[in-house]
């Protein structure tokens, strides 16, 4: 359904996407996981026809984005991260005008609005101005807007921005239902690990490049075994010691040392016994997507800019 090949995008001299390739088959949810500045919003804007294709090729539903963006606009529903609703209009007006833009009118449009509003449990707010709704409700109207014309492909940019945890879960249940019941192809950008976990397939983007592709399960198991993280005052000297004593290549990530190892619990005991004074704490766990990101890119998901 979505086929991106060797897509490169520059803003002036800054390269936002470098030879990105990805493929999404019909009826799957693809997550684009990456930190801020990884290029996922640029990718989203290209796919949603807002930005031109500079280099490479993009095909959506069999149509080339370079040849016929107008035909692609029919097939896709788009939900932006920033609101695209008119706050001064009512929910119903926003959806009605959206319908007109997609060639719907009269009774079919009214029925469609009612149907989608009841699915998203918003029927009683139809006559309210958008500015009077809570952030979570605005988000739902935003998604309703993207789904109004029953698109084959739904593209969402950070859809859970501003949603509380409960609403976030509802959103994902709804997305999965769309996939299962209508066979919709869904592409979601996110920087949240727990959202990425819910996708069928993931593309991990880092600094404009694809760092890894696969299902969340595949990606995690690709690391093998357990993930060991040591917090220490002096990471460099400890790393050298471990390397000479154990022949183990610990990675230094920030001020921590980490390693994937098949038998993590034994290694943990040995390390703590060998360096009781240097190690402040050790954690051992099954690899998470964050571990995948760190292993593939060599740096933390939350870079220095967001330092968390």
């Amino acid at each position: 359904m979505i086929d991106v090949r060797e897509l490169t995008h520059h803003y002036g001299s800054h390269c936002a996407l470098r030879a990105v390739s990805l493929e999404v088959s019909a009826g799957t949810i693809l997550g684009i996981l990456g930190p801020n500045g990884s290029g996922k919003t640029t990718l989203f804007r290209i796919l949603s026809t807002l930005y031109p294709v500079q280099q490479g090729s993009v095909t959506l539903g069999g149509i080339s984005l370079t040849d016929d963006p107008a035909a692609i606009r029919h097939k896709i529903g788009v939900t932006f991260q920033a609101p695209s609703l008119d706050p001064r209009l009512t929910v119903e007006e926003n959806l009605r005008y959206q319908g007109y833009l997609y060639g719907l009118s009269g009774r079919p449009l009214r029925e469609r609005i009612e149907e989608i509003m009841s699915r998203l449990k918003l029927t009683d707010r139809l006559r309210d101005r958008v500015q009077s709704l809570s952030g979570g409700m605005q988000r739902r109207v935003e998604i309703a807007k993207g789904l109004l014309h029953d698109p084959q492909i739904l593209i969402l940019d950070e859809p859970s921005t501003g949603l509380d945890p409960g609403a976030r879960i509802d959103l994902w249940i709804y997305l999965q239902r769309l996939r299962d019941e209508s066979g919709m192809t869904i592409l979601v950008t996110t920087h949240l690990m727990e959202e990425a976990e819910r996708c069928d397939r993931l593309v991990i983007l880092d600094r404009g490049e694809v760092a890894a592709t696969g299902s969340p399960e595949e990606l995690r198991s690709s690391l093998g075994g357990d993930c060991l993280t040591i917090i220490t005052e002096n990471p460099d000297s400890l790393r050298e010691k471990i390397e000479t004593d154990f022949q183990l290549p610990f990675q230094k990530i920030g001020d921590n040392l980490r390693l994937e190892a098949p038998r993590g619990h034994e290694l943990l005991r040995n390390l703590v016994e060998a360096y009781p004074d240097e190690i402040q704490s050790v954690s051992l766990g099954k690899p998470t997507l964050e571990d995948v990101f760190i292993a593939r890119t060599g740096h933390q998901f939350w870079g220095a800019e967001s330092a968390s």
Partner: protein
């Protein structure tokens, strides 16, 4: 889910029309929900008209083509109509910058509508608002003479000139909104638009024969003759005096010429606006 309701051919005229209607209707709804905009667009020109009309009364000498005994306030009347249209056009197109900032525009840009309907939606909406206000002022203005805030005027209408003036107002309003659109499109902030307004749009109006007549010679005469808005003011002025011959003068172009200039000007501005809107540029979205 439903049977696919997505229409296959959206470049179909009906779909284009539907999109224009939706976007234009939204302009009207928004306008009438912001009461202060109505006051701003109609109130200020009205005050200008009364104050300047009274203040410059003594120093005004009617041009030779004018009907005998024309006061300054009467001379200024069509100029104020054009000012109202200009203000409304400016406000309508400033909303384009807001649409971009608030995010509404991106939703429109990804919709499968011909780019020309995005432009036309804005222009038709702006034109309707401008014409409504201009007509209101045309009706209210002469009534002010009853309470002494305006002199008696020699304006006379026939059915024919009312229709012609209506058409001409639409033409002027559409052209000015198109001009505003192509100024607003590349702008990131409304402050930028205000700057353009004070150094370009207001002087354009001042030098259109709205405020003072085109002089016979000199650089000012030339500037005013190449100003398209001069033709907007002159055309409207002449249509307002049904059955009264304006003296033939090189200082005021004929109605046909005025309509032609406005038509060409509006078409060029609209063409550029459509071209700008159709261009997909990375820098366009923030």
């Amino acid at each position: 889910m439903n049977e696919p309701t997505t229409p296959q051919v959206n470049s179909h005229p009906a779909a284009t029309f539907l999109a224009i209607r939706a976007l234009a209707a939204r302009e009207l709804v928004r306008f009438f929900r912001q009461r202060t905009r109505i006051v701003g667009a109609l109130g200020q020109p009205l005050i200008f008209w009364i104050l300047f009309g009274a203040g410059l009364h003594g120093s005004f000498q009617a041009p030779e083509w004018a009907p005998a005994g024309m006061t300054y306030q009467e001379y200024f009347f069509p100029g104020v109509v054009v000012l109202i249209i200009l203000f409304t056009a400016i406000f309508s197109t400033i909303s384009l910058i807001e649409d971009r900032r608030e995010g509404f525009l991106q939703g429109v840009l990804v919709a499968p509508v011909p780019r020309v309907s995005i432009v036309m939606g804005k222009l038709v909406g702006g034109t309707i608002l401008a014409v409504i206000q201009a007509v209101l002022f045309l009706a209210i203005g002469p009534l002010l003479s009853l309470i002494g805030l305006a002199p008696a005027m020699q304006i006379g209408w026939t059915i024919g000139t009312i229709l012609a003036a209506g058409g001409f107002l639409i033409l002027v309003a559409f052209s000015l909104t198109a001009l505003g659109y192509l100024i607003a499109w590349p702008m990131e902030s409304t402050q930028g638009f205000h700057a353009i307004m004070s150094v370009f749009l207001m002087p354009m109006w001042l030098l259109s024969g709205a405020f003072f007549p085109v002089p016979e010679t000199g650089w000012l005469a030339w500037v005013m003759r190449v100003n398209p808005l001069t033709y907007g003011v002159a055309g409207l002025r002449q249509l307002m005096y049904a059955g009264m011959e304006m003296g033939e003068s090189p200082r005021i172009p004929g109605v046909g010429m005025c309509a032609l200039v406005m038509l060409v000007f509006g078409a060029v501005c609209t063409g550029i606006a459509v071209w700008m809107t159709g261009r997909r540029k990375s820098a366009d979205q923030r």
